[in-house]
Amino acid sequence: MRYPQRSPQNGSVNNAIDVVGLVKTFGQTRALDGLNLQVKAGEVHGFLGPNGAGKSTTIRVLLGLLRADAGQVRLLDGDPWSDAVALHRRLAYVPGDVSLWPNLTGGEAIDLLARLRGGLDPAKRETLCERFDLDPSKKGRTYSKGNRQKVALVAALASDVELLILDEPTAGLDPLMEAVFQDCIREVKEAGRTVLLSSHILGQVEKLCDKVSIIRQGVVVESGVLSQMRHLRRTTIEAEVERPVTGLSELAGVHDAHTENSLVRFSVDGEHMDKVIAWLAPHGVRSLISQPPALEELFLRHYGDELATGSDGQRVASGDAGAAR
C-alpha cells in the first residue's frame, strides 16, 4: 500500500518526540522518575520495558491525557498538554487494551475515530480491513481481543498522519496478523512517517525499529541504535577443537568458559574477539559456532533486578539468556 510521501517537518533536525526529565507521580507512586526520550522524525522507535515500567504512562503524557509533574515534553514541536487538539490531528494512537463501544460495530468505531481525527481514506480503510481479515459489521462486544486491536489499528493506519503512537499494538494478534502489521509499519516508514512502538515482542522490535529505548522503573536506562547496542554485548562461541584449550578464562574479555572433552563454550566481548580467535586457532579448530547477541540479552540485562548489583549480576543475566535459547 502506498502512503503519500512525507518530508520531515521544519528542516529535519527536530525530534518528533523530545522528552527531558519527565516526572509523573500518582499519590505515593513515582511512575516516571526523570525520563528522557528522543525520537527523530521519520524513524521507527522501539519503546521496551517490563510491565509497569511506565511505558503507557509516558504515552499518556505524550497524548496530553496525563499532565506532567515536572520535565519538558515536546511532541511534533508542540506542547502535548496545551496544544493537544492541534497535535492529535497529526497523530494516531492505538492503545494496548482496546475497549470498543459495545453497541457500535467495528466499522462504526473506525469511522468515528478517524472522522474525529479529520477523516480517512475509504479505499485504504477497505484494503486494511481485508489485509487484517476484519469483519467491520460485528458489534464491538462480540470481537475478541485481537479483533478489537485490529479495529484500532485499521483506524490508525487508514489516517494520513505524521506520527503513530502504538502501545503494544499486537499483543492479541496471531503470527499471520503480526506479519501483516509489520508490512504495514514498513510502508508507513517508507512514507517518511514517525512511529513510536511500545512492545514486548523482541522479534518485532528487531525487525522494525531503527532505534530502541529501554525503560525500567520510570527511567530510560539505555537508548540507541540496535546494532550499536549489540556491539557492546558479547558473542557466544562454541568450538570443537583437536587439542584441549587452556588459559582461555584468563584472557581479557572472556566469560563463562566451559570445556567438555573437545568442546569449548564461552562468551566474549566484541572488542576482544580477534585475540580470542587467534588464541583458539593453534588448537586445531574443527568447527566454530558464533551466536550474535540477541535482544533477549539486552532485555534481561535491564529487566533483571541484578542490574544494580554490578558485573556479577550481569554474568548471571547473560547465562540465563543462553539457557533460555
Binding site: L63, W101, L104, T105
Partner: protein
C-alpha cells in the same frame, strides 16, 4: 469472549475435593462482602435511619388524636391512597398505622432498588467486564456466582429487616409494638427478596448489567403504580404487586403473617427460573443473540454530539417511555379525584390550603413533583455512564484524536441537558394527556406540561452537581445520588410530615413553584439555572486540568 482484564486475579481458595455446582460459593460470598464492606452497611443504615426519622417526625407532628384524625380524611381519599397505601388502620389511625399505611410502599422502592443494584453488580456487571471469566475459570461451580450473590443480597435484606424492626421498636411509641415492628421489617425484606428474584431472571435475559438494572428498575416503578392504582380503586390490582403483598401484612394493625408466604413462594419460583435460565446460556452472553450491524458509520456518528446521542439514545427512549407511562398512570385518576372532591367538603378544606386555586391544580402539582424527582435520576445515570466510559478506557482514544476535552464534555452535557427536557416533557405529557381525558378538560394538557417543565432548573442543578464532581472530584461522583434521593424523599414525604424549613430547603426541588397550584415565580428558577450553569462551568475547568483516568 476473550476479554482479559488486567485487574488482580481473584483468589478463589483451595479446590474442594469434589467439584459440585456450588463449589466456591463460600469464598465468593466472602469476596463480595470484602468488596462491598462499605456499600452494604451504607444502604442498610441509610434506609433504617430514614425510616426512624420518619417515625420521629410523625410522633412530633401527630401528637394528638385530633391531628391524627384530620390525617385520616386525607389518607381516605383517592389521592392519599395513590401516594400512600390502601387505608390500613384508618379507624384508629395511630403512628404505627401511619407507618404501615403511608410509608411501607415508599420505603419499599429503596429496598427493591438496593437489592437490584447489589445483585447486578456481582453478577451481570462482572460478566460484562470479563472479570467473571477469571472467577469462573477457577474452581468454581456452575451455580456458585449466582448463589453467592443471592445469599449476600438475601442476608442483606434480612439484616435490614431486623435492624428496621429494632430501630422502630426503640422509638418508645405506644402503638409501635415489637411484634408489629418485626412484621414491618419482614414485610420490607420480603419486597427486597421478590426483587432479588426478579433481577436474577432479568440478569439472565439481557447481555448488559445496565439493561438488567433498567428492566428491574422499570418493574419497580410498575409494581408501585399497579399498587397505587389498585389501592385507589380498592380492587384486585393491589394483589398483583409485591408491594401490595407486603402491605397486606398490615403491621401494627392486624400483624398478618400469611401474605409473606405469597412473597416467599414467588421469590422461590423466580430464583428457580433464574438458575434454569443461567445454565442455558454461555458466560458473558445473553439469551438474545447479537446481530451484525452496519459496516460503516452514518455521517452523524462522526461528530461528538452524534456519538453522545448514540450512546444515550436507548436510555433516553426507555426513560422517556417509562416516565410517560408513570405520569399517564397517575393522571388517569384526575377525573376520579375531581368527582371525589366535589362530594367531600371536609376533605376539600384540608387539602385546599392555598387560596384561589382549584383541587385539580393541587392534585396535578402533588403528582408532578415526585415524578420529576424520579426523572432527575436520568441525568445522574447518564453522567455516571460518562465516567464509566472514561475508566474503561473508551474516552482515551477519542481524546487522542482532534477532539478536545471541552468539546467531548460539552457534547455529552448538551445531550444530557436535552435529555432532562425530554424527561420533563414525557412526564408532563403523560400526566396532562390522561388528566385531560379523564376529567374531560383539554386545558389540563397544557397545565400538566407547564407543571413538569417548571422543574427543569432543578434537574439542571442535579446535572450541574454531577458535572462539577466529574471534573473536580470524579471518584466522588456517586455523591450526586444524595441530592436526587434526598430530593425524592422530600417530594414524597414533604407534604405528609411537617419538617423544619431548612430541611426541605436543602432539596433543589423544593424551590420550584408547584405549578399550577401556586403562582409562577421566576426568581428561584432563574437562580437555580444560574447556579447550575456555574457548577457546569466548574466541571469544565476541572476537566481541563485533571488527568484522564483509565484502568
Amino acid at each position: 469472549m476473550t476479554a482479559v482484564s488486567e485487574r488482580p486475579g481473584v483468589q478463589v481458595g483451595a479446590p474442594a475435593a469434589a467439584g459440585g455446582p456450588l463449589t466456591g460459593t463460600g469464598t465468593l460470598i466472602k469476596f463480595i462482602l470484602r468488596r462491598d464492606r462499605i456499600r452494604i452497611p451504607a444502604w442498610i443504615l441509610v434506609i433504617t435511619f430514614s425510616l426512624l426519622s420518619v417515625a420521629r417526625g410523625l410522633q412530633q407532628a401527630y401528637a394528638t388524636a385530633a391531628d391524627r384524625q384530620a390525617r385520616v380524611e386525607v389518607m381516605d381519599s383517592p389521592v392519599g391512597r395513590a401516594v400512600g397505601g390502601p387505608g390500613i388502620g384508618l379507624d384508629d389511625y395511630t403512628i404505627g398505622a401511619m407507618l404501615s399505611n403511608e410509608f411501607l410502599s415508599f420505603i419499599a422502592i429503596f429496598v427493591a432498588l438496593m437489592s437490584v443494584l447489589l445483585f447486578v453488580r456481582h453478577t451481570r456487571a462482572e460478566e460484562e467486564t470479563g472479570r467473571a471469566e477469571l472467577v469462573r475459570a477457577a474452581v468454581v461451580g456452575r451455580y456458585a456466582v449466582t448463589t453467592a450473590a443471592l445469599v449476600v443480597v438475601t442476608v442483606t435484606n434480612l439484616v435490614l429487616g431486623l435492624l428496621v424492626a429494632l430501630a422502630l421498636a426503640s422509638t418508645g411509641e405506644e402503638s409501635i409494638t415489637v411484634q408489629g415492628s418485626l412484621m414491618y421489617g419482614a414485610s420490607l425484606a420480603s419486597i427486597g427478596l421478590v426483587f432479588t428474584g426478579i433481577v436474577a431472571v432479568c440478569a439472565q435475559i439481557t447481555e448488559y448489567g445496565r439493561s438488567a438494572n433498567g428492566i428491574a428498575g422499570a418493574l419497580i416503578a410498575v409494581v408501585f403504580v399497579v399498587r397505587a392504582v389498585g389501592d385507589m380503586g380498592g380492587n384486585f390490582l393491589s394483589w398483583l404487586s409485591p408491594i401490595g403483598w407486603a402491605q397486606a401484612t398490615r403491621p401494627y394493625v392486624d400483624d398478618r403473617w400469611w401474605p409473606l408466604l405469597v412473597s416467599a413462594l414467588v421469590t422461590a419460583v423466580l430464583v428457580a427460573a433464574a438458575f434454569v435460565l443461567s445454565t442455558r446460556r454461555d458466560v458473558g452472553a445473553g439469551l438474545v443473540p447479537p446481530r451484525p450491524g452496519p459496516r460503516q458509520a452514518s455521517p452523524l456518528l462522526g461528530t461528538p454530539v452524534g456519538l453522545a446521542l448514540r450512546m444515550h439514545r436507548a436510555s433516553l427512549l426507555w426513560w422517556g417511555l417509562g416516565l410517560f407511562a408513570l405520569g399517564a398512570a397517575y393522571g388517569a385518576f384526575t377525573g376520579e379525584v375531581e368527582t371525589f372532591l366535589q362530594d367531600n367538603e371536609t376533605f376539600r378544606d384540608i387539602f385546599l390550603q392555598t387560596e384561589g386555586t382549584s383541587f385539580i391544580n393541587s392534585w396535578l402539582s402533588s403528582i408532578t413533583s415526585p415524578l420529576l424527582a424520579v426523572a432527575s435520576f436520568y441525568p445522574v445515570l447518564a453522567i455516571q455512564r460518562m465516567r464509566a466510559e472514561e475508566t474503561v478506557g473508551r474516552v482515551e482514544p477519542l481524546l487522542a484524536t482532534g477532539l478536545s476535552r471541552a468539546r467531548w464534555l460539552g457534547s455529552q452535557v448538551l445531550v444530557v441537558l436535552a435529555g432532562g427536557v425530554i424527561m420533563a416533557v414525557a412526564c408532563g405529557l403523560g400526566v396532562g394527556l390522561t388528566s385531560a381525558l379523564s376529567a374531560g378538560d383539554g386545558s389540563l394538557m397544557a397545565d400538566g406540561l407547564v407543571a413538569a417543565l417548571a422543574y427543569l432548573p432543578a434537574t439542571w442543578f442535579v446535572v450541574g452537581v454531577a458535572v462539577a464532581l466529574l471534573g473536580i472530584l470524579p471518584r466522588a461522583l456517586g455523591a450526586v445520588w444524595l441530592v436526587v434521593v434526598y430530593g425524592l424523599f422530600m417530594e414524597m414525604t414533604g407534604g405528609l410530615i411537617e419538617l423544619p424549613g431548612w430541611v426541605t430547603d436543602l432539596s433543589p426541588f423544593e424551590h420550584i413553584p408547584a405549578l399550577p397550584a401556586t403562582e409562577f415565580n421566576a426568581l428561584p428558577l432563574v437562580l437555580l439555572t444560574v447556579i447550575s450553569a456555574g457548577l457546569i462551568a466548574l466541571g469544565f475547568v476541572g476537566m481541563r486540568k485533571r488527568d484522564l483516568e483509565s484502568n
